[in-house]
Amino acid sequence: MVEDKILVWKFNRGSKDALRRIYEKYKDDLLGLAITLLRDRSLAEDVVHDVFVSFAGTAGAFHLSGTLKGYLSTCVANSARDRNRLRSGRDAGSDVAEAAGSNSDGPMERAIGREESGQLNDLLARLPYEQREVIVLHLHHGMRFREIAKALDISINTVQSRYRYGLDKLRSILNSVVTK
């Protein structure tokens, strides 16, 4: 948190090194969020790219009110929602498991990780976008319901109900998978 404040302070004074460190610190998390939401790696990369470019454009006037990670996650979620609306009707997601598993672990870990995250992404893909968004922001990115409500410009009750319905649906999907 303090480190982020210092980075933002330097970034506002035009430090390229600070911008690079912010990018290095959050790029993987943000790409993971975008992939989970969009289920398309190339589209997710574009989202993260656009978010960082517009963030860089605020140099000198950027004011951090919450956490930097929360701010960037919100930007990615909002941008991903816009992209999702644009491509509505087009089915994507064939490369989700591959995209999610492309980390720097060994071949075995990579295979397990790919399988597990691919399984989760398949399950999350069955949820409506709004429920998926709330679940991922809360459980993967540690955002509170209040923060999510503010970021998405909806009421906290809506966030909580989307979360609850999403989890119920996930539970029923998992139960049906187990009983098969």
């Binding site: 035009g14 390229k16 911008l19 690079r20 990018y23 790029k27 993987d28 790409l31 993971g32 992939i35 989970t36 990369e45 993260v48 790219h49 960082f52 470019v53 517009s54 963030f55 860089a56 454009g57 605020t58 140099a59 000198g60 006037a61 995209a99 999610a100 598993g101 492309s102 980390n103 720097s104 672990d105 990780g113 597990e116 995250s117 399984q119 989760l120 992404n121 999350l124 679940i135 459980l139 993967h140 989890l167 996930l170 539970r171 998992l174 139960n175």
Partner: protein
């Protein structure tokens, strides 16, 4: 039926671990740096303060500017010296002997002040100091005799 906590844990531990590609890093950072430079350049051009603005913004600059103005005015007055009138008056006060009163410089100043009348007044003042003289005396003898 899985309890809620189990579902949350299930989702949490399966968070996808993704790494960005080098191409993406390069593209994103290059574009971000460009955007950052453009913003900073635009802002510095917009906010380049003018000299009057610098003076009005800084308290120290205000004091310095006031001091410079006072010094400049003092210097100007010192260079100009006292006015022509003041100088003439002072000269006439000092020039007590008739020969001093009748010098070219003194007569020129008298002319500037009062024209021909000024010169006449100056001459009368000199003659008054010299007192009655014979009519045949020359101008050179008149002033030589006054020890001027």
């Amino acid at each position: 039926m899985r309890p809620k906590e189990n579902i949350e844990k299930f989702v949490r531990v399966r968070k996808p671990h993704v790494t960005t590609s080098r191409q993406m890093d390069k593209r994103t950072l290059n574009d971000s740096f460009t955007a950052m430079e453009q913003t900073i350049r635009a802002k510095s051009a917009d906010h380049k303060p003018s000299t009057p603005r610098i003076i009005t913004l800084s308290r120290m600059m205000k004091l310095t500017a006031a001091a410079v103005i006072i010094v400049a005015i003092s210097f100007y007055i010192a260079r100009q010296g006292p006015s022509e009138q003041g100088r003439t008056t002072k000269f006439l006060e000092v020039a007590e002997s008739p020969s001093e009163i009748m010098t070219m410089k003194s007569l020129t100043i008298a002319y500037r002040r009062g024209g021909i009348e000024g010169i006449e007044n100056q001459c009368e003042k000199a003659l008054k100091i010299l007192g009655p003289q014979p009519a045949s005396i020359s101008l050179g003898d008149l002033f030589n005799g006054s020890n001027g």
